[in-house]
């Protein structure tokens, strides 16, 4: 009887999880469509549908027939709008989806492995490593590309992985990696690498603004090639990490308990940290340092769906996408009511709107809160 009711409870929960994930995916798609409609240029929804329809083989002919009726001026506007939708807004939205999912998912992993609510996707020095790599490449190596990718992107990625590698090896004691030393080494390496970034800024001269703009973060004008370069890292990283959701649940009970329950703790930690760092490195190489997503999104998701990583992990990733796509849409249009073409770096929006939202949720919940 006991086994039966446990099983029933599990199936009920699992079906509820499926429902949540489907709901979130629908929400993400709706968000993407709405944000496709949001921007400085006023493009009607009908026009957006036409522009998208033109890309679909079967609808193509129909759209062309409506375009034939347009005057040359209207046709130029339509083509400019098509460029704006397909080449400007759509890449931004996809970049938001990919980066948001990557930062949020790795945030869940770091918080789970470290069992520390303050851990985020930058905790292992990844942000500082990326910043350092990007700054060095801006100062000494702009202008050439590696496999068709911008050198800044590649350098940020390598810098991030290097920092992670450094932190991991410094804090290793024999074959074990205690989380406390990892955290402390992460902080130390962060400071060290940021001091190098500061040093580079001082000697940068003309290139200073390039470094500063990169550090502010954002993805206003991403190329499709930039996105495709990071896409596999983030998606594969997230997919593999998902299979360790149960291990994260065990780790939440403490490393010793997890070990006694049959989990190879050190090995799982290694795999998860490498995966999460890879995902974060890929994400920041595309967007620069976008703050708060990796810290806040897992907490907010935890408040809503509970602490079980089997639902927390996928829900956080999708919610991270939704959050970043909304923030980027806001960044594009906050100033337009004032007849301004001003655009804000998305990192400012994530923190400006994210923090109050976060605090509000906490105030509402009021219960005690645990990882």
């Amino acid at each position: 009887m006991g086994a039966d009711s446990t099983e029933n409870a599990y199936f009920r929960r699992a079906s509820r999880w499926k429902f949540i994930v489907i709901l979130l995916i629908v929400a993400l798609i709706v968000t993407m469509i709405i944000s496709l409609n949001v921007g400085y240029a006023h493009i009607s929804f009908a026009d957006i549908l036409k522009i998208l329809g033109k890309q679909v083989p079967i609808l193509n002919g129909y759209v062309d027939s409506t375009l034939a009726a347009l005057s040359p001026d209207e046709l130029r506007t339509f083509q400019a709008n098509a460029g704006i939708i397909l080449q400007m807004r759509l890449p931004r939205i996809i970049a938001g989806v990919v980066v948001g999912a990557g930062l949020a998912a790795s945030g869940v992993v770091y918080q789970g492995v470290f069992r520390n609510p303050m851990a985020d996707s930058y905790v292992l020095g990844v942000s500082a490593g990326a910043a350092c790599g990007a700054s060095i490449s801006i100062l000494f190596g702009t202008g050439f590309t590696v496999f068709g990718l911008r050198v800044v992107q590649v350098a940020a990625f390598i810098g991030a992985l290097f920092a992670m590698f450094l932190v991991y090896n410094i804090s290793r004691v024999g074959s074990r990696v205690p989380v406390l030393t990892l955290l402390l080494c992460g902080i130390a390496v962060n400071f060290f690498l940021y001091s190098i970034v500061a040093l580079l800024e001082v000697i940068a001269g003309d290139e200073l603004h390039a470094i500063v703009f990169w550090l502010i973060g954002g993805f206003s004008n991403p190329l499709w090639s930039d996105i495709w370069a990071v896409f596999p890292f983030i998606m594969i990283g997230i997919a593999i990490s998902y299979f360790y959701a149960r291990s994260l649940n065990l780790l939440a009970m403490g490393e010793e308990t997890a070990q006694h329950l049959g989990l190879n703790v050190e090995r799982v930690k290694q795999i998860l940290l490498v995966l999460a760092s890879l995902v974060t490195a890929a994400a920041v190489s595309l967007s620069g340092l976008v703050g708060f997503v990796g810290l806040m999104v897992p907490h907010v998701t935890r408040l809503i769906v509970g602490p079980d990583h089997r639902i927390l992990f996928p829900a956080s990733a999708i919610f991270g996408s939704i959050f970043l796509v909304i923030c980027d849409a806001l960044a594009r249009v906050v100033a337009t009511p004032f007849a301004s073409t001003l655009e804000l770096p998305v990192g400012i929006i994530t923190m400006l709107f994210g923090a109050p939202f976060f605090i509000l949720l906490f105030r509402k919940k009021k219960e005690s809160y645990a990882l």
Binding site: Q87, G205, D206, F213, S287, G288, S340, L342
Partner: protein, 321 residues
């Protein structure tokens, strides 16, 4: 009396008079010049008075360096900033020890400045403001040149002329610049149409920056017979949406060619600009309107303002030149 003595005396007096005249002339201590040294009001509305014509000038910014050298004060300048590169290659001078460097432009080295014992310091606003306050507290005479427009540059030249006993040179320089700008303005007034112009401050995958109506470049574009597509934005430099550029469809895109001969400009090559996603319908890209400009000349509010306006006018209205 012996006529010999009379002649000798007259001769000696004449020599003394000429020497005195030469001395007064070269040390610049005529009454009008001394008067000009009093109550100098700079762009921070701060009033400075000098006791004598300065002979040890520290120039802390590229724009101030261009002004002092345009006024022929070459041998009075004892230090420049690490960003100064016109009219001479100062980094080579600094390396050779011919002139001192104040250290970093954004964070000047106070001890170096003090050790040079300057009697006049020329600085600019913005990042140098805290340094200026400290220098003034220490009793140094600092003039801040932070002009908002071309008129402001002319006032700056006049101010530096007054402060250094070069009033006549300053007036001549101002006349020359003003006449050249007026000539351009007269010429482009005949143009049939004014091209719309986009000035690019920065473009990369993370952001796009441009210049609004309060930016220095806005006036340059106007004088040269163009219309800044962001003239309706009551801002200096700002991060703009790329969509706005495409929608406003500029005829000319001004691309600063990162001076210094150091790496590629931020926008890469002209082919990269043409290949920007979603920009293919922009008039400047379709009709060969991409114009490279010297980033230092267009960014510096200094005596080369007439040069850049002439260059821009030729790019905007090639049929008139």
């Amino acid at each position: 009396m012996n006529t010999k003595y009379v002649i000798a005396t007259v001769f000696i007096i004449a020599v003394i008079a000429v020497t005195a005249f030469i001395y007064v002339y070269y040390s610049g201590q005529t009454d009008s010049q001394l008067e000009a040294l009093l109550n100098l009001v700079d762009d921070t509305k701060y009033k400075t008075s000098l006791d004598a014509i300065p002979s040890r000038i520290v120039s802390m910014a590229p724009s101030t360096t261009e002004i002092v050298f345009a006024l022929g004060l070459d041998d009075k300048v004892v230090a420049v900033s690490n960003y100064c590169d016109y009219p001479y290659d100062f980094s080579a001078w600094i390396e050779a020890g011919d002139i001192a460097s104040i250290g970093d432009f954004t964070d000047p080295n106070m001890e170096v400045i003090a050790s040079l014992d300057p009697d006049l310091i020329l600085a600019t606003g913005g990042v140098q403001a805290p340094t200026i306050d400290t220098l003034r507290d220490l009793g140094y005479k600092v003039l801040v040149l932070n002009p908002a427009d071309i008129n402001g540059v002319m006032q700056n030249i006049e101010l530096v002329g007054n402060a250094t006993g070069k009033t006549a040179e300053a007036a001549a320089l101002i006349d020359g610049i003003t006449n050249r700008i007026d000539a351009v303005v007269d010429k482009v007034a005949n143009a049939e149409s004014m091209p719309t112009v986009y000035y690019e401050v920065w473009y990369d995958p993370t952001s796009l920056w441009t210049a609004g109506s309060k930016a220095w470049q806005n006036e340059l574009i106007e004088k040269a017979g163009g219309v800044n597509i962001f003239a309706d934005q009551d801002l200096e430099y700002f991060q703009s949406s790329a969509e706005a550029v495409v929608e406003r469809n500029p005829d000319i895109m001004l691309l600063p060619a990162q001076g210094m001969g150091f790496g590629e400009p931020f926008w890469g090559s002209l082919d990269d600009v043409k290949a920007r996603p979603g920009w293919n319908t922009v008039s400047a890209i379709q009709n060969d309107g991409l114009v490279e400009v010297d980033s230092n000349t267009i960014a510096r509010a200094g005596p080369r303002v007439a040069d850049i306006i002439e260059d821009l006018a030729k790019a905007f209205h090639p049929e008139l030149f």
